[in-house]
Structure formats: structure tokens, C-alpha cells
């Protein structure tokens, strides 16, 4: 009977990864909404009074960090492609490169904060538009930490030689999320450039 049928269909639910991948897309929508809210908050706040606004030039570190994260998107894509073509060693290599670029991005962002402080733009600030700089980049960095965790997870799976369909699944999750973080940063950077 039925025990077998049911077991089979549980097994199918477990193996059927589409609903789980879909969860990742939905999560991306929630974090997109979070940033939409923060940037709208920025606009509403800044428009409230002429004394508000970023009122400085963004540090050039942001250009470097943007290059780093765009490169990491490329290596991420290469890693995913290698996984699909069963070239596991190059998959791991590209994953490591992506991770490294992610860490570089993180460090550069933190150094951008240092240059904010050096030019007297503090987090605690009567002009909250400037505090928003920290909030926007900081929230994005938190997501980067999450993204790095997803990457490490995919890397560990690959090292442990898990079944290919799981490996691909992890790689897919990682690449969806990582590309999203890349696009998100570009959105934030352009947004800030337009408002500086």
C-alpha cells in the first residue's frame, strides 16, 4: 500500500527543489522592500528641509568596492557554470575567488566609514541624511555577511562531494543571492550618487 506510495511522494517533495528555490526569490523580494523603505525614508526625510542632505562627496573607496563586487558577480557566474559542466575543481576555485572578493568588498566598505568619520560625517548627526549613509551601507553589509555564509555553505557542499543535484541547488541559491547583492549595491550607490 500506501506506506510506499506516501514515502515515495514525500521523497519527491524532498527532492523537488523548486518550491525551495522559490523561497529564495521571495526572500529577495522582502529584502528589496526593506531597501525600498529605507531609501524612500531617506527621500522623505531629506526633502523635508533644505538643511538636510548628504552634503559631501562620496569617498572614492566606493568605486573600488563597486569594482570588487561586480568582479565577484562574474566569478560567481563562472563558478556556477563550472558546476553545471561538472568541472568541480574550477567550481571551487571560482567560489573561493568570489568569497575573497566579497571579503575585500566588506573591508572596503568599512574603510569608507572610516573616511566618513575622517571628514566629520558621523553616525550620530543632527543631519540624519548623513546617518542614513551608515544605515544603508550597514544594512547592505549585513546582507553581505549572509551572502558569504551562503557561499561558504555551497563551498562546503562541493568539498564534501555531495550529490550533483544538491550541489547545483546550493550553487543556484548562492548565485541568485549573490547577484542580487551586487545589483542591490549598484542601486544604492547610484541612489547615493544622485543625492550627494
Amino acid at each position: 500500500m500506501t506506506a510506499i506510495t506516501m514515502k515515495n511522494s514525500f521523497e519527491q517533495d524532498r527532492v523537488n527543489l523548486r518550491p525551495k528555490k522559490f523561497l529564495m526569490w521571495l526572500f529577495i523580494i522582502t529584502s528589496f522592500m526593506l531597501f525600498a523603505a529605507l531609501t524612500s525614508g531617506f527621500i522623505v526625510y531629506t526633502a523635508g528641509d533644505p538643511s538636510r542632505g548628504i552634503k559631501m562627496l562620496l569617498p572614492s573607496v566606493f568605486n573600488y568596492s563597486s569594482v570588487a563586487i561586480i568582479l565577484s558577480s562574474i566569478t560567481m557566474h563562472l563558478a556556477y557554470k563550472s558546476a553545471k559542466e561538472l568541472k568541480f575543481s574550477s567550481q571551487r576555485l571560482y567560489l573561493l575567488l568570489t568569497l575573497a572578493l566579497g571579503v575585500i568588498f566588506f573591508v572596503l566598505q568599512v574603510s569608507a566609514w572610516k573616511s566618513f568619520i575622517a571628514s566629520g560625517v558621523y553616525f550620530v548627526n543632527p543631519n540624519a541624511s548623513q546617518s542614513f549613509l551608515y544605515v544603508l551601507t550597514g544594512t547592505h553589509l549585513l546582507h553581505i555577511v549572509g551572502g558569504l555564509a551562503v557561499l561558504i555553505n555551497a563551498y562546503r557542499g562541493s568539498v564534501k562531494n555531495i550529490v550533483q543535484y544538491r550541489n547545483l541547488f546550493k550553487m543556484e541559491l548562492a548565485s541568485i543571492f549573490w547577484h542580487f547583492l551586487d545589483i542591490l549595491w549598484i542601486y544604492l550607490y547610484v541612489f547615493l550618487l544622485l543625492n550627494q
Partner: protein, 627 residues
Amino acid sequence: MSSTAIHHTLEHSGHGHDDHGHHHETFLTKYIFSQDHKMIAKQFLITGIIMGVIGMFLSILFRIQLGWPDQSFPLLETFLGKWAEGGRIKPDFYLALVTIHGTIMVFFVLTAGLSGTFSNLLIPLQLGARDMASPFLNMLSYWFFFIASVIMMSSFFIESGPASAGWTIYPPLSAVPQAIAGSGLGMTLWLISMVFFIASSLMGALNYISTILNMRTKGMDLWKMPLTIWALFLTAILGVLSFPVLVAGVVLLIFDRSFGTSFYLSDLVIQGQVMPQQGGSPILFQHLFWFLGHPEVYIVIMPALGITSEVIATNSRKPIFGYHAMVYSLIGITILSFIVWGHHMFVTGMNPFLGGVFMITTLIIAVPSAVKTFNYLATLWRGNIRFTPAMMFAIGLVSFFISGGLTGIFLGNAALDINLHDTYFVVAHFHLVMGSAAIFGMLCGVYHWFPKMFGRMMDDKLGYLHFWLTFIGAYLVFFPMHFMGLDGVPRRYYAFTEFEFMKEWLTVNTFVSWAAIVAALGQIAFLWNFFNSIFNGKKATQNPWQSNTLEWTTPVEHIHGNWPGEIPSVYRWPYDYSKPGHDEDFILQTTPFSETMSSNLPHDFEGNAEAERIQLEWERQHQAEKV
């Protein structure tokens, strides 16, 4: 990724029953860290009920203060200690009571308790899925909710008391600990609790959406889904789009409170001292809050509307009137609810032109709401009504939705709102249209699906007693508040004895407090009925309400995976009640048209020429036999 044919098991061999099957369960995995959606639904429901009782108890405490402001109740001091010194509730504690009452009711009972229970129970069962997209995430969603509840309640056990800035936690009151005792540690706990709560809601919502879109059984296309599922689906979408915005608002508030930033704070002088924070905008918080807050009220009511659709159709023994219109109005409400938030902010000094825009969008949202109401009435019209307790509560919801919705149209008018804002008129409005309507929807669902959840029936007589006490009680409590509001009596005031023009409302307040106490006692009928029936109720049959939907094809005894064999396929929409020509007054969604030749209608076949030909053939033969 291969993904089609999700539920189609490749082999099905033999028959028989084998319920101690596929894996071993311990007490811990079955009842505590369960990943089975039916158990998680019960966990949400029971936690929701407990939170509901607590929220109701808090409201009785502040009703005592409002009804008898000059009287002392020594018993209160025994229980509340310094918060009710001399037997009278203190002003600060009164505000804490109102705040936590609102928070618990809106978020913990009517969001988590309602959506959490019925999404978990009904989505897999009515769509034909073994479980949720991610059972693990689902379990986590419950436990985050549980932690949020514990943290929220723990604020009653700290020195400075719970948060006191209202459920809308407007800064600066909520942001400055010196402003009120509750804005100290109590507010911090409130914020932590809500972070857990939002995480829980989002995990739940992501799961519901993914399950609905990816895991329906064969034949269950979107337009064959019961209206409950449509409502829960759109509710989850609302949650996904609006809760992150609350996160943004709350995060900035946390920075203002704990790091000294000034997103929201400016020009504050407290007890002669100038606060350091300058340049912030408290209105910014209101925008962020109400961008969530308004969709939130629809997050609360839409599941209740969905449940009601199902129960009214089943118990009128009629197809729901205007199924497509019902779906489109839910979609309309979902979209419109994102562009009306400004109606909560008419008096914040908003540009009058902008106020006009929000007024128009607000009045437009009344249209889909009215469509739903008329469709309920049309479904009831000339139905073969069975007044089960669930049906009574469903009709009660329709009544509250109408009487509360009408006052929304007054409030939505930017000019009238100058008078009515922050008066008891608003309190009357939202307690009828949201509070009462949604809780009636929830109770309706509990009475209706109790047999599915626990395999037993609830007692009808207690159900009727509960209904009438609650229904009459709610009107007696909230209806008089309209008149107080029209007279300008403000909400959230501690006592009305200090103002000459409000003194005349004291007798009304006493009356309202009595009505509230009686209605609260009426809930004992429910609690007894609910908990007693879990163990001693009459054993339920498989389909006690003769309903069409898939959940009633599962065995009464729960099994992990819901259906013992293959998941049934679906052939028709869920509302074939009293179909002319059929020998019973309901046809299950799993009954193919080939078994109901005598009742099929041409449009049932959705243009399938072959099926139409067979049907015509059959009818011709049948005609011939008759002659």
C-alpha cells in the same frame, strides 16, 4: 530543474491501512518541534487563544478604570502592586495596558493566531499537498512567534513596566526613556519581541506563497482554489511587501533610542532640559509605520473574509455568489491597501492636495470591500441556510464588516477627519471593522474546522451561547463609542472626570464596561467548549458539514502526509452546492464530471469539445430512455 508532476507518485500498489509507518516520532518531534503543518496550526491556534485571553484580560483592567474612575478596588493592588496603588490603576500603567492590549490583539492574535493557524491548516489540505514547501522553516516560524510572545509578556515583570506609547509606538514618546516609564526597558523588550514576530511572519508568509504557487495537486489550477486559499495567499503577499517596511522604521527607532541618532527626534525639552537630538522628523516614522500599518489591517481581515466565504457557501448550500468578483476584489484590496496609508496622517500637517489624493484612494478601497459584502448577502439570499455555530459567526462578521466599514467612509474624508481623528469614533470604527469582524472570522474558522483539527465536534449549544453573548456584547461595547467620538471625546485618555464636557459620558462608560465584562465572561463558554471538546467531544465524521473541498477527503485520524494513498486529483471548482440535477446537494472537488452526467452544464467543460460531445451524447440517450 525538473519540477513538473510534483505529486504524482510513480507506483501505487495495493491497498490497506498502515499508519505506524514510515518514520518514528517521539513526543518531542510530534508535539513540540513538530514539522507537520497540522500540528503547527494547532500550536499557532492555542498560543493565539492564550494571547487572546491575556489581551482581553488587559482590556477588562482598563475598562474598570474607565467605568469607575473614582472607585478603589483593593484587589487590583494585591495583584498589580505599585501599578495600582490604593486600588486604582495608575495613569502610566493604564497606558501600558492599552498599548499591550492593542499590540497583542493586532499582531499576536489576529495576525499570527489567525493567519498562522489557518494558513498552516488549510493550504496543504485544501490544495492537496503533503506539507509545506519548507516544513523546517514552518516550525521555525512558530517558535519565533512563541519567543516573541514570551518576550512581550515578560515586560510585565520588570520594574519600569511594559511599553506605553500605544500600539503605533509613535516617537518621540516611544523614543525617549525620560518621557514615560514604559519607554525604558519596556519599549526595548517590545522592539525585540516585534523583531522576532516579524521574522516569524515573514518565514510563514514565504512558505505559504511558495506552497500555493508550487505544490498544488493535479487539476488544482488557480481558478479552482477555494476562496480561503486566495485570501491567505494575498494576505501572505501583503505581509511580504509590508513587514520589511516596518523593519526599516523600527531599526531607525532603535538607533534613535540606543545610539543617539536623530532620525525622528528634534526640539525636545523634557522637564526643563533640552534633549541633545536635533533635526529629526517624527512624521517620517508615521510614514514608515502606516505603510505597514494599513496593509496590516487587511492582513488581519482578509483571512477572516476568506474563511467566511467558505463557511457561508457551505452552510447556505449555494455556490458562492460571484467567485471571480470575490477574487478580483481581494486582489484590488491588496493593491489599493498600499496607497492609502496617508489617511492615518491627515492631521499631521500634510499638504492638503496630498490629503485629497489619499482621500480618493481611501474611498476607492471601499468599493472592493462593498463588492465582497454584497456577494455575501447574495450568497445568503434564498439559501438553504444551516445555522451552525460557524455560520452564525460568519454572519456576525458580515454584520460587523458593514457597520464598521460605513464609519470608515466618514473617517476617510480628510475634512471630517480633522474632527474625528484620535477620538472614540476611530476606536469604534476599527474595533467593529477589524477587531470584532476578524475575531468573528477566526472563531468561525475554529468552529468550522475543529473536526478537521481534533477529530471531534464542538458542542453546538455552547457555541450559540458564545455567539449571542459575544455578538450583542461587542455591539453594546463599541456602538456607544461612535457618539462619544462625535462629541469629541479623545481616545487613550486615562479618565474623563477632569473635563467638564466629558463628564456626562461617565454613565455611558460604566455601561460599556459592564457590557465588556459580560462579553468577556461569555468567552468562558468558548474556552470550556474548545478545550473540553478536544478530549470529550463527539467523534467527528469525515465530512461533517458535507463540504466540497479537499481537506474533507483526508481521514479523520491525522497522518503525516495527509492522504494515506495518492493525493486525489481535482476536477471542478469548490462551490458545486445544490447543483440542479445532482442527487446530493454537494459535489466534492474530486468527483470527475463523468460521474455527474445528470448535472453537468455546458460551461463546466471550459470549451473542451470532446467532453461536450460526450455530454450531449449522454443527454440524447437519456432523453430517449425517458420517452
